[in-house]
């Protein structure tokens, strides 16, 4: 791909050790402490980012958690929180958007903004860079700002600057020459070959003839050569801001009590409100999502009476909801997703009732579930079990799924058995071999004329619902055809179905 020669002035907001910075943004009290972030579990856990104090103590990305602990005993080691990183990046994009409509970013990368036209608002690029840095600082993120002609040059300027770095127009190649080649993102094979050839700096590679580079390093090498000269391979792709605004955080340890969960939620609400206000938006609905341990998620819809950007209201709603339907498992992550609306200045009607809350199906189900208990509202699904008539309740299918229809398993003739729920207790007199001979008590009585069985079912021995049942199908003299079972451990007889 040919390099892009259009050298638009671009600013780059670069956050060193973004996972650490995101964590500090989420928990400001961590600022100033030696902090490192790891990814992985147990012995496989490795440091992915280290704050400046931790780095000074020798903690570097790639080392194991045990190594980091051994090197810096007071270093705080926290699990990597992709949610916190996403939120931090989202806010950084919003900061950039407040300066320029032309903003670009990647899931893990720095944030770029095009500076076209901003020269009329700011007297110098140095001043603009400082303003950007200050704005990001107010959002809780310490960034370095680089300004240069092109994405790559701006990024390198930001990476290597102490606070702000501005490369004057046309001086990109000279300014970058002394930087190490490892700063560039090339294929590892080409970078290794460069290292073998003794090419350690951008200037050394840039000084070679392109034909020589092409001959030795091939097209990937030529791309690297262009980068070494500070040339972009692709033009920036400016992005639109998403309509939904998400703020997330992973908890340091699983939360099992409501109060600490509300503390985390409070911070989340504050940050989300700050972002909404910064863009002049309000939240019409919010989705509170809880990541649970060991697995699973719980999501709750919060619907304030009117769209607002009021963290207190959201927190009150959340508190009520969580008190009514607390999470059944410890919470490891919290997310708040706002459906945004533009803030419309207006006055509530003095005698009106306000906008009716949408009485949607999910809301109804949620309220029912809150009243009846989890797992008592939903749709029936047969279970893969040896027990006859065994089923479970699953959530109602979404409207999208409902259109597909539901096929009957087997598709054939269904047995004409009416299940009795709950099963009826009966008294049974048995023969010496344990077979039922007569029903002596319960809704039905009489001599058993014919019988089928026993069919023994001993299922789920590993669960708390361990049970041993002997099933029989019996025909009473002049009476109905019943299905009985004998709970062997409890020595109880029950009828759980009538045929015909």
């Amino acid at each position: 791909m040919p390099p892009v020669n259009d050298s638009e002035r671009i600013a780059c907001l670069y956050t060193e050790s973004l996972p650490v910075a995101a964590l500090v943004r989420a928990e400001p009290e961590l600022a100033g402490r030696p902090l490192a972030v790891y990814r992985g579990r147990g012995g496989q856990a490795r440091v992915v980012a280290a704050g400046s104090r931790a780095a000074r103590a020798g903690v570097v990305p790639g080392m194991t958690v045990a190594q980091a602990r051994s090197l810096a005993g007071d270093c705080l080691l926290r699990a990597h929180s992709p949610a916190a990183v996403r939120s931090a990046l989202a806010e950084l994009v919003e900061v950039a958007r407040s300066f320029s409509p032309r903003v670009a970013t990647s899931p893990e990368g720095p944030v770029y903004l095009g500076l076209q036209g901003l020269d009329r608002l700011y007297p110098s690029e140095q001043q603009l860079a400082r303003r950007l840095r200050d704005a990001a600082g107010r959002a809780g993120l310490r960034v370095r700002v680089g300004i240069a002609g092109g994405l790559l040059a701006a990024r390198l300027a930001a990476c290597t600057a102490t606070a702000v770095g501005v490369i004057a127009a046309g001086r990109e190649r000279r300014s970058l020459a002394a930087l190490p080649l490892s700063l560039l993102a090339g294929s590892s094979g080409v970078l290794d070959l460069c290292r073998t050839l003794g090419l350690e700096r951008l200037g050394q590679l840039a000084a070679l003839e392109p034909a020589e580079v092409m001959l030795r390093l091939g097209p990937p090498g030529l791309r690297l050569w262009h980068q070494a000269r500070g040339e972009d391979l692709q033009p920036p792709s400016w992005q639109r801001l998403p309509e939904r605004m998400i703020e997330q955080v992973d908890c340091e340890y699983p939360l099992a009590l409501l109060e600490p969960l509300l503390l985390v939620l409070n911070r989340l609400c504050q940050r989300l409100a700050r972002r909404l206000r910064a863009r002049g938006l309000v939240a019409a609905e919010l989705v509170l999502s809880l990541a649970l341990e060991p697995e699973g998620r719980a999501e709750h819809l919060l619907r304030p009476a009117a769209a607002c950007a009021c963290p207190r209201t959201w927190l009150d709603l959340s508190r009520a909801l969580l008190q009514r339907a607390p999470p059944r498992l410890p919470v490891t992550g919290v997310g708040l997703e706002a459906e945004t609306l533009a803030q419309t200045p207006g006055q509530l009607e003095l005698f009106g009732t306000g906008a009716a809350a949408p009485a949607g199906f999910p809301g109804l189900v949620a309220r029912l579930a809150a009243r009846l208990g989890e797992g008592r509202v939903g749709s029936v699904r047969p279970l893969d079990s040896h027990l006859p008539g065994c089923f479970e309740l699953v959530p109602f299918p979404s409207p999208l799924q409902r259109g597909r229809g539901c096929a009957r398993p087997g598709g054939g003739r269904w047995p004409a058995l009416r299940a009795l729920r709950p099963p009826c207790a009966v008294q049974v007199a048995c023969a010496a071999d344990g077979r039922p001979e007569r029903i002596t008590g319960g809704p039905w009585r009489g001599v058993i004329r014919r019988r089928g069985g026993p069919w023994r079912v001993v299922e789920r021995w590993w669960s708390e619902t361990d049970d041993e049942r002997d099933y029989y199908e019996v025909e009473l003299a002049g009476g109905p055809l019943l299905r009985l079972y004998h709970r062997r451990l409890a020595d109880r007889w029950l009828a759980d179905g009538i045929f015909g």
């Binding site: 073998t196 893969d384 590993w462």
Partner: protein, 1039 residues
């Protein structure tokens, strides 16, 4: 009531489809007062030997069979009536496993799974009883009544009216009633007898849980996900005849027929009809005659002069061999050795075979057992009741494979195969697998596994769970604690023995089924070495030894120089060799190169061959844990008097200064001091092995104690003897003969190092990986011995390392990382047609890839073309990118704009691209800085006094934390002048562990220790030098 015989049982040898060990099924059957029981594992007879012997012991009649899976679906239970039937069953199972529809190299079906089309059963029904049930039901499902009738007709034709039965089972499942009705109607209509069975998959009801766990493991599911794949109830256990009669009250003839079928099955594994192959002898000469002739001819060559003692011993051994009919076995092993010698492949017998003078005279072993007064009966005796086991050491790798293939070629694929190795569940694997199935999170399991010891032994699982933070009362944890121990020792899968081969006079696949091994070109039988031993099937172990490969390389290199090197003709008592051993200059020397051995050598100060035998045997878990090492060394140094537990034991222990060091000594002690017969002594040895149960061991110890008391040995002396047995056989000690065989290789390798260090180093490098040390350490050691080590070069190097005419060691191209062997060999071959003069010429003549050229250039291997490394790199990187069309064109070699490599860069490139540097040692670059910090070089450690505080530094080449060292950790550091030993005490270890484990180079400060000429540093302060040596290759790991 007693009519019922269970005809269909699966054991855990059905690999995840049965849950009880064969012995447990037998025990259960005996408790239910059964008099016969059939074992029919899925697609194999893996568990039949164990079942056979257990049944015999319990007084049960074992009925043998297997369940054969059909390609059409379903399976047939085949029970063996006669020897002919056994042959047919084995061949059917072999055919089922060696499926022609699976192309070579394709993914094989899961282990233990066979599949055989019905048509391939033709002609193999004789002597078998077929219980059809599952196959008929499958036929009904797949094709309806017509297919059922067709199958029934085929089976009747195959097995005859007396050999075909229809099986019904009643396991209280709903669908079973309907199935039984169908099968009973079918049997009545076709006039086929009906037999009852319970399709047993476990002995006791509670073992159903294990089967459910196995089912989940097989399907890779959790219990919660398995649904109806699991059994609906626990009814497939072994039921009493009374209970079966009740269940089949409506079909009494089905129960009675089980007895009729059982009576038809008369075959037993005692009638296996296995014969070791006869050795083809010259016309008119018997096997015994040939063996005698070869032995006496060998004796005349080995013993000069052949004395009466040797004659007596040989005559005795030959008489025993003849009486046991083992002449053919010895001739076959002799023939393998003969083949090796003809092919120039080094071979040497190890283990107890070295106790035999016959083996020595046949050239199978190289140690004279008469001269060393070794106990022949440890190897073979009529009284011992064990078959002999000859293990041959061969050079590892392709040469050993050639010998294995020779055996197949000589005796045929149908007559020879490798023995199996049954892999069983151990604690860790059982906990991991059961935990997964129960759905415990990986993290919890990892924590629990961390708390379990790595080696054998019964851990406190509940305690480990508590330490791992798990609640033992929690449901899933509770099940884990219950089920994991019950998986212990159940078979997990079948492996291949490292070198055991069985041979047979007739078709081996009529004695035992044969399966293709995972390694191409190999086949493996369904029984392991213990089963073979118990059934009287003889095997030969062909084992690979890296040092023999190295010695073979050395022999070849010396022959090129016109010198002879032969294990059998090394000068005995060579002073230079013993001097080298005494100063522990033994990097690379077989068996005595470990840190522990190197520490003992200067203290033991070997002077003769027997000292080497002791040296090899003394650093073993048995003597170490039995605390024999220190007393022996003290007695040898004269600091402790030589005493004996009892005067009667003096002749046995005299040579080892009153300390028992060898297995033979312990056996002789039992015979002399406790009145054991040879057979009893052998039983005792086997009983004390680590695989036996503690109760069994304790019983034997009690017997030994009683025997000692009867002979007047009591108190401390008796306890010492009993304890020595436990440590020797329980924790592994060497037989004297085995130690002697190894000592010979020790002597040979030490001799080579003492006299031809360049050849020795080249041979080690060519045979690498072997031993303890990295090639860089071997090269550094050779350099310290004055060997000029030269880098790999396209105009001088071959694929392997070689010794040049002036005695310099030229590194081979095999150490150029990334260079393909084919390309390296082509390069060496092409050079014979003329030197390479330019890089372009090299590229034209040899098809090298760009990264190969770059690797050669980076290492300086293109130096003989007149190019510096960077010049070569500049050209090489351009050549590799050329398109094929332009390859023939000579490219103008433009001047390189690249800066030349510094010396440090060259060393870095060497180490990263080949692991070896011929230049300065990495520590040499730091020496000036280290000197400023008062760090001593290894060669300077003879100056300070013991107890002085010293600092040393070096690359970490060995880290050891042996289980027998009571928590001590041993490091070996290497600098440019030599090696430094560092010890770390257990109390210090937790604080320095991380640094010591992770650092590639260390600076260590501590007190100097000096004892009997052994110098070391007891480390106190550790500092990583990794940052100073950034870019160098990492050190080795723990041993």
């Amino acid at each position: 009531m007693k009519d019922y015989v269970e005809l269909r049982c699966r054991s855990a040898f059905s690999f995840l489809r049965g849950a009880s060990a064969p012995e447990d099924l037998v025990t259960r059957a005996a408790r239910l007062e059964m008099d016969a029981l059939a074992l029919c594992d899925c697609d194999g007879v893996y568990g039949l030997p164990r079942f056979h012997f257990a049944a015999r012991q319990a007084g049960l009649r074992p009925l043998l069979g297997a369940e054969l899976s059909l390609a059409e679906g379903g399976s047939l239970v085949l029970l063996v009536r006669s020897r002919r039937g056994w042959h047919n069953l084995c061949r059917l199972l072999t055919a089922g496993h060696c499926r022609p529809d699976v192309p070579a190299g394709a993914r094989r079906p899961p282990q233990g799974r066979a599949r055989l089309a019905l048509e391939r059963l033709a002609g193999r029904g004789d002597g078998l009883v077929c219980l059809a049930g599952s196959a008929l039901l499958q036929a009904r499902r797949a094709g309806g009544p017509e297919r059922v009738q067709h199958l029934l007709g085929s089976l009747r034709a195959l097995f005859g009216p007396e050999g075909l039965w229809i099986e019904v089972c009643r396991c209280l499942d709903r669908a079973g009633a309907e199935r039984n009705r169908f099968l009973a109607d079918l049997a009545a209509a076709a006039g086929v007898g009906l037999v009852a069975s319970n399709d047993v998959r476990y002995g006791r009801r509670r073992e159903r849980r294990l089967l459910d766990v196995f089912t989940c493991l097989q399907r890779r599911l959790r219990l919660d996900e398995a649904g109806r794949l699991l059994e609906g109830n626990a009814e497939r256990h072994l039921k009493s005849p009374q209970r079966m009669a009740e269940l089949f009250a409506a079909l009494p003839e089905a129960v009675a027929n089980t007895r009729r079928v059982a009576e038809l099955c008369e075959f037993s594994l005692d009638d296996l009809d296995y014969r070791f192959p006869d050795f083809a002898t010259p016309p008119g000469e018997s096997q015994v005659g040939l063996l005698r002739r070869l032995v006496w001819r060998g004796a005349a060559r080995r013993y000069r002069p052949l004395g009466s003692r040797q004659r007596r011993q040989l005559a005795h051994e030959l008489a025993v061999i003849e009486r046991l009919g083992l002449a053919g076995y010895f001739l076959v092993v002799w023939d393998i050795c003969r083949f090796c010698r003809e092919q120039g492949i080094m071979v040497q017998g190890r283990g107890s075979a070295a106790n035999s003078a016959v083996c020595y005279c046949l050239g199978i072993t190289a140690v004279d057992p008469v001269g060393m007064d070794l106990l022949f009966e440890r190897f073979l005796s009529a009284e011992r009741g064990q078959w002999p086991d000859i293990d041959l050491d061969l050079p590892s790798g392709e040469r050993r494979e050639r010998v294995i293939q020779y055996v197949w070629q000589r005796y045929g694929r149908q007559r020879a195969a490798m023995t199996a190795n049954v892999i069983t569940y151990r604690w860790r694997s059982a906990v991991r697998q059961v935990g997964k199935v129960l759905g415990l999170p990986e993290e919890y399991l990892a924590r629990l596994l961390q708390q379990l010891p790595g080696s054998d032994g019964e851990p406190d699982l509940a305690g480990a769970a508590v330490r791992a933070g798990l609640d033992p009362g929690e449901r899933r944890v509770r099940w884990l604690l219950q089920l994991a121990p019950r998986l212990q020792h159940l078979p997990r899968h079948l492996g291949q023995h490292s070198g055991g081969m069985v041979l047979c006079a007739g078709r081996l696949d009529e004695v035992v089924p044969i399966e293709p091994a995972s390694m191409a070109g190999r086949t493996v039988i369904q029984w392991d070495k213990d089963d073979c031993g118990d059934l009287g099937i003889l095997k030969v172990d062909l084992l690979g030894l890296g040092m023999l490969r190295a010695l073979e390389q050395a022999r070849w290199m010396l022959r090129q120089r016109g010198q002879r090197f032969d294990l059998a003709h090394l000068p005995a008592g060579d002073p230079r060799t013993y001097e080298l051993l005494r100063r522990a200059d033994t990097i690379g020397v077989f068996q005595v190169e470990s840190r522990a051995q190197m520490n003992i050598l200067p203290r033991l100060r070997p002077r003769c061959f027997y000292d080497l035998v002791v040296q090899v045997a003394i650093i073993r878990p048995g003597p170490i844990v039995g605390r024999k090492v220190h007393p022996y060394l003290e007695r040898r140094a004269g600091r402790q008097p030589v005493t004996y537990p009892h005067p009667a034991l003096e002749p046995i222990l005299k040579r080892t200064l009153g300390i028992p060091l060898f297995q033979e000594q312990s056996m002789r002690i039992a015979m002399t001091a406790a009145g054991y017969s040879l057979r009893q002594a052998e039983q005792l040895r086997r009983a004390m092995g680590h695989r036996r149960s503690p109760e069994y061991r304790r019983w034997h110890q009690q017997q030994l104690r009683r025997g000692l008391h009867r002979h007047g040995i009591r108190g401390r002396a008796a306890e010492e003897i009993v304890a020595s047995f436990a440590s020797f056989f329980g924790l592994y000690g060497f037989p004297e003969s085995h130690a002697a065989s190894f000592a010979l290789i020790v002597y040979a390798s030490a001799y080579l190092k003492a006299h031809h260090p360049e050849v020795f180093a080249a041979a080690l490098l060519n045979a690498w990986p072997l031993g303890f040390y990295h090639p860089a350490t071997i090269v550094a050691d050779a350099q310290r011995h004055g060997v000029s080590v030269r880098p790999a070069d396209v105009n001088h190097s071959t694929w392997l390392c070689r010794v040049e005419a002036d005695g310099g060691l030229r590194l081979g191209l095999r150490f150029v990382r990334g260079l393909r062997q084919q390309a390296g060999r082509q390069l060496a071959a092409e050079r014979r047609r003329g030197r390479f003069t330019s890089l372009a010429g090299l590229q034209r003549r040899v098809e090298l890839r760009q990264r190969e050229l770059v690797a050669l250039a980076s290492l300086g291997a293109l130096g003989s073309l007149g190019l510096t490394r960077r010049q070569a790199l500049w050209q090489a990187s351009a050549l590799g990118q050329q398109r094929p069309l332009l390859r023939h064109l000579e490219q103008p070699a433009g001047a390189s704009p690249l800066a030349e490599m510094s010396a440090l860069e060259c060393t870095t490139a060497d180490l990263s691209l080949s692991g070896i540097s011929c230049g300065p040692h990495p520590l040499a670059y730091l020496r000036r800085r280290l000197r400023r910090r008062r760090v001593l070089a290894a060669e300077s450690l003879d100056r300070p006094r013991a107890g002085d505080w010293v600092r040393v530094a070096g690359m970490v080449i060995v880290r050891q934390r042996p289980a027998t060292a009571r928590g001590m950790t041993f490091l070996t550091l290497e600098d440019e002048t030599g090696l430094v030993n560092v010890t770390i005490t257990p109390d210090l270890w937790p604080r320095v562990r991380l640094q010591v484990v992770s650092a590639r180079a260390l600076l260590v400060a501590g007190r100097l220790e000096r004892r009997d000429g052994v110098v070391g540093v007891r480390g106190q302060v550790f500092e990583s030098l990794d940052e100073d040596l950034a870019g160098f290759t990492p050190a080795r790991d723990f041993h």
